[in-house]
């Protein structure tokens, strides 16, 4: 059987067996609903597991346990942050929120949904490397602004924002600050006792944890309305039967990410970027060269289209993704590449490699040489590619 190398860890990751092992008892043994300490013993056991998981994840952020709300993933977390705060504050303080242009869909589309309900939204531009301009942010905040939502790192190009500085601007101006940390949680250190952030979305699916579990950090006293109604779970902020195996798995997954692993991923990331940029002509970097998450490498190859590249790579046993319109469900090119000033060709030719725990340097070298071959092959048939000896063309 052909080996298959998975390099789309920014989309979803393979579960670590140790995570599965930690979760299994909560499917088969301690499967009861989490009850109060006055409940039956199986329910108390569930409750304890949930508490331990919560405390451990909160500690990773420098938060206290009651500031960490479990959700079904980062999509729900960001919906809850934007819509929950808008619901709690919108009428009191004004109706203006600020997001960056290159946010991932949970934030971007929540902002658009609020816009349809009469809120005003500023979509803050970023520079060519994907970095938000702090002065522009400060200028964009007006008397009606109640929330700023700027991601910690970008889902496609991996650029890390200076959330400490953004948080300080928000504090100074007296507005709340939410950050989507889906692609940085455990990969880039975050300490909310240091960084003035009020809400933060995290998820297990990007760190070899299970799908369907995430969390929202909510700083104490942050005004946020409950928008999923039902029972009184999660400090009465998010109703629904607790996903205890998920919570246990999320906590275990976070524990398994070490600095050493992040350094290893950084090394592989740099290898991909250095070699592709040096060895493949007419290739450009997408995102910031150094201020980027350890697991993300993204480049654009001129004169070729991304769906063709990914399909050729898939045939040869590699999974990667692209910002090409042809690849997307909406037939629209990547809003992130457009956001950093790229044109359609750059979006079409963009390829994202996202690394995970199970990737090796050998795989990285293989994907580099295979990508280089595929790009050369597609350029040979591309009308856009400059060919060495121009043949006599018909007029």
């Amino acid at each position: 059987m052909q080996t298959y190398t998975y390099l789309d860890n920014g989309a979803a990751t393979r579960l670590d067996e140790r995570v599965l092992e930690a979760m299994t008892p909560y499917f088969l043994e301690a499967y009861a609903v989490a009850t109060s300490e006055f409940g039956y013993s199986l329910g108390i056991e569930s409750k304890e597991a949930l508490d331990v998981a919560r405390a451990s994840l909160a500690a990773r952020l420098g938060a206290s346990p009651e500031e960490f709300v479990f959700t079904s993933g980062d999509t729900e977390s960001s919906n809850m942050a934007l819509k929950g705060v808008a619901l709690a504050l919108g009428e009191k303080k004004g109706k203006h929120i600020i997001v960056s242009k290159i946010e991932d869909f949970p934030v971007l589309h929540s902002a658009q949904a609020l816009e349809r309900q009469g809120f005003r939204v500023t979509y803050l531009p970023v520079d060519g490397e994907g970095v938000v301009d702090l002065e522009a942010l400060e200028k964009a905040i007006d008397r009606e602004t109640f929330l700023v939502s700027i991601q910690h790192a970008n889902q496609e190009i991996g650029t890390i924002q200076d959330i400490a500085a953004i948080g300080r601007v928000c504090r100074k101006k007296g507005v709340l600050f939410h950050t989507d940390a889906t692609h940085t949680f455990t990969r880039v250190s975050i300490d909310v006792s240091d960084v003035p952030v009020d809400l933060m979305s995290v998820s297990a699916h990007t760190i070899h944890g299970p799908k369907g579990i995430g969390g929202l950090y909510v700083r104490k006293k942050t005004p946020i309305a409950k928008w999923m109604d039902g029972g009184f779970q999660e400090f009465d902020l998010r109703a629904g039967l607790e996903n205890i195996p998920g919570a246990v798995g999320f906590a275990r997954a976070a524990d398994l990410v070490t600095d050493e692993e992040n350094q290893r991923l950084t090394g592989m990331r740099d290898r991909i970027l250095d070699r592709l940029l040096n060895e493949v002509p007419d290739t450009v970097l997408n995102g910031h060269r150094s201020s980027r998450v350890p697991q993300n490498a993204n480049v654009s190859f001129h004169y070729v289209e991304g769906e063709s590249i990914t399909l050729h790579l898939d045939i040869r046993g590699f999974a990667v993704s692209t910002g090409s319109a042809c690849f997307s469900r909406s037939l629209e090119g990547s809003h992130v590449i457009f956001g950093i000033g790229g044109d359609h060709e750059r979006a079409h030719g963009s390829i994202r490699f996202t690394l995970g725990r199970f990737n090796t340097v050998e795989e990285v070298d293989q994907v580099i040489s295979t990508t280089s071959e595929v790009v050369a092959q597609l350029r040979r048939i591309s009308p856009l590619a400059p060919h060495e000896a121009p043949s006599e063309e018909a007029k």
């Binding site: 004169y303 289209e305 769906e307 042809c326 044109d343 359609h344 048939i381 006599e392 007029k395």
Partner: protein, 211 residues
């Protein structure tokens, strides 16, 4: 595992036939642009006596459907007369490939359009256009819709870059609302000339830039 593409599409995608520029081609056309995601160039060597397509090649900047359709269209066109080749439809090309995903129709239709445009290009450059209508401003405008504005990825007409078209005694003047110093000015000029010059009654094309 289910694949969106048929085996035949994958075969033509992996090993496209008749690719590259054609030496001694006597007709060529390019359809699409990087902005609409896909681009196809078709090169033809047409026998001037028999009007048969002796040789045909294509180049593609695009997804799998685009490459596969470009490839199959060259196989379908080779050996046909230009009249026969003009009637090749997208449906025929798609059927020949065992079907294409509907979502990808827009990528694959370009190859068929490219072939037709290359034949038109031959007819125009070889004095074969039957109805020799005098070139009008409308005709020039229609053709300019195929020239892309690389700044935004839509055509020149749609993006309102054309501020004037004059047709006078075989000379066409097109005014473009971009400074001469713009990085794309030269590309735009060349593309405009390429689209307008083949018209039978046009001897000269001038592209004027603002400022």
């Amino acid at each position: 595992m289910s694949q969106p593409y048929t085996e035949k599409v994958m075969d033509h995608f992996k090993n496209p036939r008749n690719v590259g520029k054609l030496e001694n081609a006597n007709a060529k056309a390019t359809e699409g642009s990087p902005a609409c995601g896909d681009m196809v160039s078709v090169y033809l060597k047409i026998n001037d006596q028999t009007k048969r397509i002796d040789d045909v090649t294509f180049e593609s900047y695009g997804c799998a459907s685009n490459i596969a359709t470009g490839s199959i269209i060259t196989e379908l066109a080779k050996g046909k007369t230009i009249e026969e080749a003009k009637n090749i439809t997208w449906k025929q090309a798609a059927d020949e490939l065992g079907g294409l995903p509907p979502l990808k129709a827009h990528c694959s239709v370009l190859a068929v359009e490219g072939l037709r445009a290359a034949i038109e290009n031959y007819e125009e450059t070889h004095g074969l256009v039957k109805e020799r209508k005098a070139t009008t401003v409308e005709e020039v405008r229609r053709r300019l819709k195929k020239v892309m504005n690389p700044l935004v990825g839509l055509d020149l007409v749609k993006t309102e870059l054309i501020t004037g078209i004059m047709v006078e005694k075989g000379k066409v003047t097109v005014s473009v609302d971009l400074p001469e110093t713009n990085q794309f000015a030269n590309t735009i000029r060349q593309e405009v000339i390429e689209k307008i010059e083949p018209l039978w009654d046009v001897n000269e094309v001038e592209v004027r830039f603002a400022g």
